[in-house]
Amino acid sequence: MITFVEVTKRYQDGTVAVDALNLEVPAGQTMVLVGPSGCGKTTTLRMINRLVEPTQGAIFLDGTDIKDRAPAHLRRGIGYVIQQSGLFPHRTVQDNIATVPLLNGWPRKKARDRATELLTLVGLDQDLARRYPHQLSGGQQQRVGVARALAADPPVLLMDEPFSAVDPVVRASLQDQLLSLQAELRKTIVLVTHDIEEAIKVGDLVALYRPHGTLAQVAPPEQLLAAPADDYVAGFVGFDRGIRRLSFVTTDGLVLDASPVLPADATVAKALAAGQPWICVTDAERRPAGWVATVTLAAAPGDTPLGQVKTEPVGHAFTFGTDSLRAALDAAVLSPAGQAVGVDGDGRVLGVATFDQLRAAIQAADTRAVDSRAGDSAEARRR
């Protein structure tokens, strides 16, 4: 756990980078520091490994004041990843990764074996071990940077805009990699970014800064989207936060309607009898085959099977219980019928959800969020 107590950093020219910061990063969680440039988020990060010394206040790492630790030793227990990778150009990939183990006095063989292990962990080929950094792509360099930071298995990982310098596709895959690594390793991670999307994607907690080094809100991402503390936070997270926060709500609460769903061998007459404006036709495996509007069926003979009627494509379905409400809403928006098709894990149709049903599920989720917030603040008052 990392704790900031009334930490201020004032530079010699009088600029206040961080102003009386109180912040707690729980062990094993990812805390994302996000805010406009010059808000003090990077200064905050660099104070943790003493690249920057605070003017006032104290920082505790697992209860120990970091001022009481020799900087070089403190730093060997804290992994550090930066934007431009900062790899040593004159060392091979494996020697770069082995840096901290070697500093800690490991034998070379053991350090290199560890480096090989880490290459695999960050999803890189073993063949890269003997290459030099300039022979790698930007994304590969960044992965090596992460491997190097993890080499001595430090409990804390600091990441300063680690994915900003790569293209969006590579960035997304690096973020996914970080999430899966973190699921396995449970490090205490502090990550700085200016990208609120990245913060929401990778953070367990997000600390949103105002300009000039004060915090606007510290909250889990779903709460930041659902209940921004003020207009500044609402503005920073963006106008579509209402839809984005649905990524954090599952579809379990959604009520699915099976009545507009009919198999391909059902007749047109049966479809008309269902009394629905649209019918979702399924194939022999009960997978969605297409939508058909009942008004177009009136001209067809009543005994025609639905399988022979022209249908419109489903777009995409959502997996009930696993996918988020955002996926379900998207499925409804893209569907010609304006309804989302819910399927089970095997892709078989369970039923459909209309906009009304989606809205009901969203409102139910909001009520739960408000309740839990009330619970949180009641708990906070008790402390």
């Binding site: 690249l51 900087p71 730093r75 060997r76 550090y80 930066i82 040593f88 150009p89 500093l103 300039h134």
Partner: protein, 209 residues
């Protein structure tokens, strides 16, 4: 051109070439050794560099012969006089490269090294200086070549080098000797240059071609 002069004076030519090589390489090496600590200081404490550079430029402007003569009272008509003077000139071309090389180490790299727990000295020796090697050796090349060519001037105060062939050839109106001296000075400089390039390639396998 009297080709037969060459084989009959083979041992003299060899000896002069060898002495010229010594007078070229040793000052450059001494210059490198002195430049490294000075360069490290100049790269770390920025105020140190501008006055140092001024002194160096003034020294570099002094004609080589004048510097030899100025050193004679202390060191006499010896190799030492020439070596000291040429060391000063080498220093003048190598030191700026040491400073430039150290300053060109990417900030991200030094910051990463510090953040991983390198102390300042260890970082200097194992990260910054190795990364500055290509730029430092570029200065060293110029230092060696300049010293090899300036060493002939030492002949004027009686210190033996390929310069002997120029003076002797001139006095005896014997151009063959002058041509041989000229070709050998250039060949020697070229050979030393190629050796340094080979050494640099071996030291920096990581540099992008």
């Amino acid at each position: 051109m009297m080709w037969s002069w060459i084989p009959s004076n083979w041992s003299l030519i060899w000896q002069l070439t060898w002495e010229n090589a010594k007078l070229g390489v040793l000052p450059a090496l001494y210059g490198l050794v002195i430049s490294l600590p000075l360069g490290v200081i100049a790269a770390r404490w920025r105020w140190f560099y501008p006055p140092t550079l001024t002194v160096i430029n003034i020294l570099y402007a002094v004609p080589s012969l004048a510097l030899f003569i100025a050193l004679i009272p202390a060191f006499g008509l010896t190799d030492t006089t020439v070596i000291i003077a040429l060391t000063v000139f080498s220093l003048c071309v190598i030191l700026p490269n040491v400073v430039a090389g150290l300053r060109a180490v990417p900030a991200a790299v030094t910051q990463a090294a510090t953040a991983m727990g390198y102390g300042p000295l260890r970082r200097l020796v194992t990260v910054e200086l190795p990364l500055a090697v290509p730029v430092i050796l570029a200065g060293f090349r110029v230092g060696v070549v300049a010293s090899i060519s300036l060493a002939s001037v030492g002949q004027l105060i009686g210190v033996s080098s390929l310069g002997y062939l120029f003076i002797d050839g001139l006095q005896r109106s014997f151009p063959t000797e002058i041509y041989v001296g000229l070709v050998l000075v250039i060949a020697l400089a070229l050979a030393c240059d190629l050796i340094i390039v080979a050494v640099r390639r071996a030291l920096t396998p990581w540099a992008a071609s």
